[in-house]
Symmetry: C2
């Protein structure tokens, strides 16, 4: 059987008891390590699980999935996914391929940033669709997130923005010379995301994510050093939340008093936060 096992958000102890039982018994253990990362190294997981782990990069999962699925009709194979197994399309695809080969599958759910973001006190049923923010380059500034945020915003909903991570990206200069060298991993920060949102707002001008829009930045959700910072996008451009992973929520106007009470504790500037909240938020419900 192919078991997709969610690992949760922070460290080796975020696996569930059910998940750990599977890992301990499986014939082979893979770790999907390109759509998200834990805050601890592979070696920490191996020591805690008592198993050696095969890192499954994008190439392996997308092009060599038969290796992963080999004999899985007869033995147990564990495929570990940071967060919840269904956080990324690629895992749905893996299950479909297992089905085609007649391999039974099981999944062990776990915490995902989609619900972990509740640590901000924002009510999960007030979130609209989730968007992703990629690193802008000089000549590639995709703004496909903007209409989606605008859709959420128009009906008063919060938007969770998932921030780009780059792991195992080939260095293009070396590649042109026929050599494969990988870049250092990069993780987008809350500050970068806020900056990109404000820039795109300046181009589009629909009043969706400008400097005065309220947002919440989070870092290392579920870890002991988790951080939450609330403020305007203008303020968050300057915020330093420390090491990865970061995420951001753009607030919707349909808010609950509890959300304000919970969040203001984390405001960059309580007065600015309360003044803008009073003026622009919490009106429709």
């Amino acid at each position: 059987m192919l078991h997709l096992v969610g690992l949760g958000l922070a460290d080796e102890k975020d696996i569930t008891v059910k998940g750990l039982d599977i890992v301990k018994k499986a014939e082979r253990v893979y770790l999907e390590a390109y759509t998200a990362v834990l805050l601890v190294e592979k070696e920490v997981l191996e020591a805690f699980y008592g198993r050696s782990i095969i890192i499954a990069d994008r190439e392996m999962v997308e092009s060599a999935s038969d290796d992963i699925l080999k004999d899985a009709d007869k033995v147990d194979v564990a495929f570990l996914v940071v967060g919840d197994p269904f956080g990324a399309t690629t895992h749905t695809d893996l299950i479909l391929r297992a089905r085609e080969l007649g391999i039974p599958t099981s999944t062990v759910p776990n915490a995902s940033i989609l619900t972990g973001i509740g640590c901000t006190g924002l009510q999960l049923y007030n979130f609209g669709q989730t968007v992703s923010m990629v690193f802008f380059t000089d000549n590639w500034r995709p703004s496909s997130f903007y209409p989606k945020i605008a859709e959420n915003s128009k009906i008063g909903l919060h938007t969770l923005v998932l921030l780009d991570i780059k792991v195992k990206e080939p260095n293009l200069e070396m590649l042109a010379r026929g050599k494969i060298r990988y870049e250092e991993p990069r993780f987008m920060s809350v500050a970068q995301c806020a900056q990109q949102m404000v820039e795109v707002e300046e181009e589009k001008g629909e009043g969706i994510c400008g400097k005065d829009a309220l947002a919440v930045g989070v870092a290392r959700v579920g870890a002991a050093d988790q951080r939450i910072v609330a403020g305007t996008l203008g303020q968050l451009r300057e915020a330093d939340l420390g090491r990865p992973l970061h995420s951001l929520v753009l607030l919707g106007r349909k808010t609950h008093d509890l959300e304000r009470d919970f969040l203001k504790e984390y405001a960059v500037d309580k007065n600015v936060f309360e003044e803008i909240w009073e003026r622009n938020y919490g009106k429709t419900e």
Copy 2:
């Protein structure tokens, strides 16, 4: 410290290793048992955790929270929540009250139905706001879910519908005679939910959740006997998914081919499913 510990969705082994460590060491262990329930009894949890558990009903959490928080500035108190700790407003409120009393808090995230619903193959970033469906009575048929579903539907998004549960509801007849007797617990089924949605559509007539709209019913997500059934709301009115808990997703039109491929395996009638999908879904992306 007050620890809010998520228990996940199905049984005693869905707690995380981190959560279990806290439960084993805490001075007192409460279980919130009115916004959601696990699929196993309290006694099973107690045996597995090696701890006795105090059931915290709505009255205790909302009116007698000081009992829960007693001495939590000095000792560790574990407050167990089915799913993720931030799934319900009431837990945010408990943290705020702890803060007022100067009691430090921590939370241990876990799987929630909001992400567990990914077992349907529906992409989580294609979901809009979440709605709740309550049991209709002869003279109370709240349709506040309808405009929210309509908002999601108009921008092509899926809607997760959380189904009513009634636990520890006083029998009104006995109450009138001055006696407190509790009703048997009740859990809404996918079939009931589909029926109520179709009825409200007939009243409102905006074409949001009529008999031919595609939906997915799920039962016991994360358990060994998890079930998924896809079909029209008309078909789901007749579906029997067995014991609780159930949830339902109304499909949005903005779909991915992978979602169709994954779901059709669970269709009540594959031909009907594919025909309606072909006609009405997957057009906008």
